[in-house]
């Protein structure tokens, strides 16, 4: 069995460009009439027996998160899944992917992630934040809306793990895959339901860099108040920790073949007979030539407006203790500078500075107005801090004795921006 599979994998890697071209031309003509037909009527039994559902496995050749997300979106919008289910398998260079309605500043440290050269992407499906690298295999199961069945898909993955490596896994009530007897997660799942199409995608942790994962998903209490969806942190493990022979390349074949041999309606194992009736594996080169409109989708997905601007509105509240030297004479006790930012669509809508009485010198600290106006309308990012810096610098050169105080205020603002 393993030998046959190895041979098949070898054949896949030798697929000539011509073959791929022929397959692509057939498969990827956008089914515009299908996209516009919103009828929810499912196929009748008679039609089903006449045209049984066939399956394809597509393997993306790109490792760019935005290209792959765009490909996934393109297929969801344009592909005709009438009697044809597709499993798309894809991998990405290191990046962080947040759910559709999440707040990137809550879920990750955006500055750190950027410093490590990683992208932050927002996907179209719901769910929590995940870290991707080449040790992680993404699986997207495409079907028509009526045929969407998340548990079935996870069952296929679970069977593949057992058939190939004897790994026993369990599907939790939350519909995640955990390794039996450890209850550590090896997969996270999310889905998007539309009409006429729907998809369920999940990650599969084969050999992921766990240190990088922990660092990028590390959350501090940043004083953010929001109704964005929050991630549920779970303990994870790599499959290669259970069995050192588990590798991503082999996983492609294991899951792919299990998908093809399983009957879509009944989950019965149809074996080689059923495999022979399917459409098999295809290597996909996601370019605008083969997928008209793909570039536009990619642009939208990589835009700041989508990744950060789509964040549900939130408030950032932070307090800073004012050093004694900045307090006026005679001021006693602990006094705090309170900063509150309202951010809507990723833009700073409003800034409130609550200055303790001690921070107002006899000349008065007029910086409040400048600080507020310089920040309003700025995207919530390092750029805003720079413009704030400029505003406070101008102010402090005019009134020399305020320099220390304005520096303090500016440092507090910078901390607010950078801590998220």
């Amino acid at each position: 069995m393993a030998q046959a599979m190895a041979q098949n994998m070898f054949r896949i890697s030798q697929v000539s460009l011509n073959n791929v071209v022929r397959c692509n031309a057939y498969a990827f003509a956008p089914a515009t009439s299908q996209a516009k037909a919103y009828s929810s009527a499912s196929t009748t039994d008679k039609e089903k027996s006449k045209n049984p559902i066939q399956k394809s496995v597509f393997i993306s050749q790109s490792t760019d998160i935005f290209t792959n997300l765009a490909l996934e979106d393109w297929m969801y919008r344009n592909f005709n899944f009438n009697n044809h289910h597709v499993l798309l398998m894809w991998r990405n260079s290191p990046c962080v992917v947040i759910g559709r309605h999440q707040n990137p500043w809550v879920e990750t440290n955006t500055t750190n992630v950027a410093h490590q050269g990683m992208e932050i992407a927002r996907r179209n499906s719901g769910g929590g934040t995940v870290y991707h690298d080449r040790g992680n295999l993404n699986l997207t199961f495409f079907t028509k809306r009526e045929e969407y069945n998340r548990r079935n898909n996870l069952e296929i993955v679970s069977r593949a793990l057992f058939r190939e490596w004897g790994i026993e896994s369990v599907i939790t009530p939350r519909e995640d895959i955990v390794v039996k007897n450890t209850y550590k997660q090896i997969s996270g799942t999310a889905a998007k339901l539309g009409r006429p199409n729907a998809y369920h995608h999940c990650t599969l942790l084969v050999d992921v860099n766990k240190v990088a994962l922990r660092q990028s998903l590390h959350k501090d209490d940043k004083g953010i108040v929001t109704n964005a969806t929050q991630s549920v942190a779970s303990p994870i493990m790599n499959l290669c920790e259970i069995n050192q022979h588990v590798k991503v390349e082999r996983m492609l074949g294991a899951v792919g073949w299990e998908y093809l041999r399983t009957c879509p309606e009944t989950l019965e194992d149809g074996g080689q007979d059923l495999i022979n009736k399917q459409r098999g594996f295809q290597l996909i080169n996601p370019t605008d030539n083969w997928f008209p409109g793909l570039n536009k989708l990619k642009e939208e997905l990589s835009s700041w407006d989508w990744r950060f601007g789509k964040t549900p509105k939130f408030q950032v509240n932070k307090s800073f203790r004012v050093p004694k030297e900045f307090l006026g004479e005679g001021e006693m006790g602990v006094q705090e500078l309170k900063v509150s930012l309202e951010v809507n669509k990723g833009i700073i809508d409003d800034v409130t500075l609550k200055l303790p009485p001690g921070l107002l010198s006899t000349n008065g600290f007029h910086g409040e107005v400048d600080v507020v106006t310089s920040l309003r309308g700025q995207p919530f990012s390092e750029r805003a801090v720079v413009s704030l810096e400029n505003a406070l610098h101008d102010m402090s050169t005019k009134e020399g004795n305020l320099q220390g105080k304005s520096q303090f205020v500016m440092n507090c603002m910078r901390q607010v921006m950078q801590s998220v």
Partner: protein
């Protein structure tokens, strides 16, 4: 007062002297103003067939030229607990059957489709704050947004409550 009027109406029908009897009763019952009488009759009309439904399990109820949109009990049940509602902003121009937002539940992010064409005039801020309202009260407090219709004739293509119930029982939903 209303109860007695209804009883009288029933009684009148039986006796076959409907209108006369009602008019005569004005002498014996507390004087009913014309408005009160109209209220009784119009509310009787309003209570039936208020909502129209789509095959995507959204409902719309009309008041003048403004429709209030929400999702049906079947839809909220199959979604599971809604954790986030992404509603269209006020001023958005929407097309019938076009995507206009999303509801995220623990199971999936589901697209919202607009039942009619028009312009969004209000969205339910309470639902944005407390998405669970959609599960608890999908026809009342869990309304999603209001749209000013540009093509009222589109309503005739939607299902009545009765037709929608029948649709749910069929295999085709």
């Amino acid at each position: 007062m209303v109860m007695s009027l209804n009883i009288l109406r029933c009684g009148a029908r039986i006796s076959g002297r409907s209108i006369n009897l009602l008019q005569n009763c004005g002498r014996y019952l507390p004087k009913l103003s014309e408005n009160a009488f109209r209220l009784v009759s119009t509310s009787a009309c309003r209570s039936t067939n208020v909502r129209r439904f789509t095959d995507k399990h959204e409902w719309i109820s009309i008041d003048g030229n403004v429709g209030t949109v929400g999702i049906s009990h079947y839809a909220q049940d199959s979604l599971g607990d809604v954790v986030y509602a992404q509603l269209p902003d006020v001023g958005t121009v929407v097309e019938q059957k076009g995507e206009c937002g999303a509801l995220e539940s623990v199971k999936a992010a589901s697209e919202l489709y607009c039942p009619v064409s028009g312009k969004v005039v209000e969205k339910n801020a309470s639902v944005e704050q407390t998405p669970g309202l959609i599960n608890n009260s999908c026809y009342e407090k869990g309304w999603l947004f209001k749209v000013e219709l540009t093509r009222p004739e589109e309503l005739t293509g939607l299902m009545s409550e009765e037709e929608y119930e029948k649709f749910l029982k069929s295999d085709d939903h």
